[in-house]
Amino acid sequence: MDRSDIQGVLLHGYRRQRFARYHLLSFGEGEPRRALTRLIYDISSAAEPRAEHRHNLAFTASGLRALGLSPAEMAQFSREFLQGMTHPERALALGDTPLDGAQHWDFAGPSQPRLDALLMSFADSEARLNEWSAQHERLFERFAITWQAQDAHRLGSASDPRPAREHLATRTQRVSRGEFVLGERDTLGERHAGPFVAVKFSARELPVWSAREAGLDFGRNGSYLVLRKLELNGEPLRSVLFEEPARSKSHRLLRRSRHYDGGLWFMAFNADIRRQFEFLANRRLPARIRVRGGAYLFLPSVSALHYLAEPGA
């Protein structure tokens, strides 16, 4: 496994970075590719040594389209990702009630700007987080990208300095990396290849070339990211635990959830949204818990980010 090609948040919980800020980006009429060209140097890979701050970037289907992936390339992504969480079919699959409908969401709903990308920033102090956020926001302003910033903090109390045991963490059974990292072997020993994209000329490191598919393996070392903002309204955290069937290892999620005041940013990685996240999430949440936003995103590998930042095929 090439850890330097995998974005850090996929393999690390960033326990030392207690403070987090999620920038929900809308590309609109802006210049996302030029912004990405500069942002890419701040992105943390899983191979980097410990640092005070980390940044990772994921895209929705509309974001990848805006960055130049063709319809044929987009069609290779999973059906659930392409539809997005606001699609009525997905709402049914997730068991959302009308009160959880996208019209009530704080972001990514029909009345909000379209969500194209998510920049996740993590830092060990609020001051450092503010400093980096200000820098990134100046970049977004320069390239006419609009954003909404939402804060989160690591699960566990502020008075307890020990790393909290995440309530939503995957059980300690061994699970194959392929369940979370595309291109790695999954529980059944199979590798999920693709999506494949056209070649670009670049001096930078691009995704691995696949001779069989005559394209670059854009998906390799990437993952699908599920984001749900849940308002708990006094419900305990364990009530949003998605039960995992004991007999099967094929419905596992890699969770990276964080708190916000009054709720939870549920965040999970998986290789197959239908088989993993939607399988586990298909049950009604307790009545008091409300969904306040959500999206299906794709967390590309570092080389795939370089590919997206390149100007053209």
């Binding site: 059906r79 699959a93 059944l188 069937p245």
Partner: protein
């Protein structure tokens, strides 16, 4: 199946699939409300099987119901509760409207088809037959793929239609696939279905199969949502179901793969080759919800 419990399936060719679909949408509430009032009705379902392949150029209307007693006694009750809705739907198949309960009974009994009930109860003879069949196939080839799958547009249309269907225990899962073009596929399929009937007493709890022209149809009223049911059935009845679906297009039966891989192949096939029910009723699901 207890002697008092009867199951009936009708599968009728439809002249205009879109018009029939709209009619089914219009009649759904009336049908479901009427079915809920009928004593002795265990399950009922209307579904439109799509014409999504050149081998099946015409859509078909499927009606299934499981009830207590004889059809002769049950048909008048059914006609009284929802006769108009039935007439409106069957009109799309070219059937004349039933003038009374007697005509309705005659129409049902003339068009009712035989189904192969399916049970997951272990049967020594069936297990032995399946094992021998697998060994035969293993000797012939490692991976068995029969015919081409649905084209991507047809598959997407099915996924979209099923995706918008309510997800709850008791909602019927209806699997439809085309029988493989090989001359021996149909005979093998019939033999596999006959083998299933050894354990037919639990049919209502599991599933039933029907061969209709080029189609193989499987209908079940599972006690859990479709993804859970597909996973459970793939795990508990892998050999049984594989021996059946291996004779249809789109299903890849690879004998050389590990069991878990074959289970996942079957699970994905069961999820993808579904069509939605237009109207349905399941007494067990109602009791569960209550």
């Amino acid at each position: 199946m207890p002697p008092s419990l009867q199951s009936m399936v009708l599968l009728l060719t439809v002249r205009d699939g879109n018009a029939c679909r709209h009619e089914l949408d219009r009649q759904r509430t009336a049908l479901e409300a009427a079915w809920a009032q009928i004593p002795g009705l265990h399950s009922a379902c209307f579904a439109l099987l799509p014409a999504d392949d050149p081998a099946t150029p015409e859509a078909a209307l499927l009606f299934e119901c499981t009830f207590d007693g004889l059809l002769l006694d049950f048909a008048p009750t059914l006609y009284q509760a929802a006769g108009r809705a039935f007439d409106a739907l069957f009109a799309h198949t070219g059937a004349p409207p039933a003038t009374d309960a007697g005509a309705f009974y005659r129409f049902l009994s003339a068009n009712a088809r035989r189904t192969a009930a399916f049970s997951t109860r272990p049967q020594v003879r069936r297990r032995l037959w399946i094992a021998l069949d697998w060994l035969r196939r293993l000797a012939a080839s490692r991976a068995v793929t029969r015919g081409s799958a649905l084209n991507p547009e047809a598959l997407e249309a099915r996924r979209a239609a099923v995706g918008m269907q309510e997800r709850a225990p008791g909602v019927p899962t209806l699997h439809v696939a085309l029988i493989a073009p090989e001359a021996t596929a149909r005979a093998r399929l019939k033999r596999a279905l006959r083998e299933l009937e050894f354990g037919a007493d639990r049919a209502e709890l599991t599933a039933r199969f029907l061969i209709a022209g080029e189609r193989l149809v499987c209908l079940a009223y599972p006690d859990e949502i479709a993804p859970l049911w597909s996973e459970r059935m793939s795990a508990t009845a892998l050999a049984d179901l594989s021996s059946i679906w291996a004779n249809t297009r789109g299903f890849v039966a690879s004998t050389g793969l590990r069991r878990r891989r074959r289970e996942r192949r079957l699970e994905e096939f069961l999820l993808d080759y579904r069509v939605p029910a237009g109207a349905w009723f399941c007494a067990r699901a109602r009791l569960g919800n209550a």
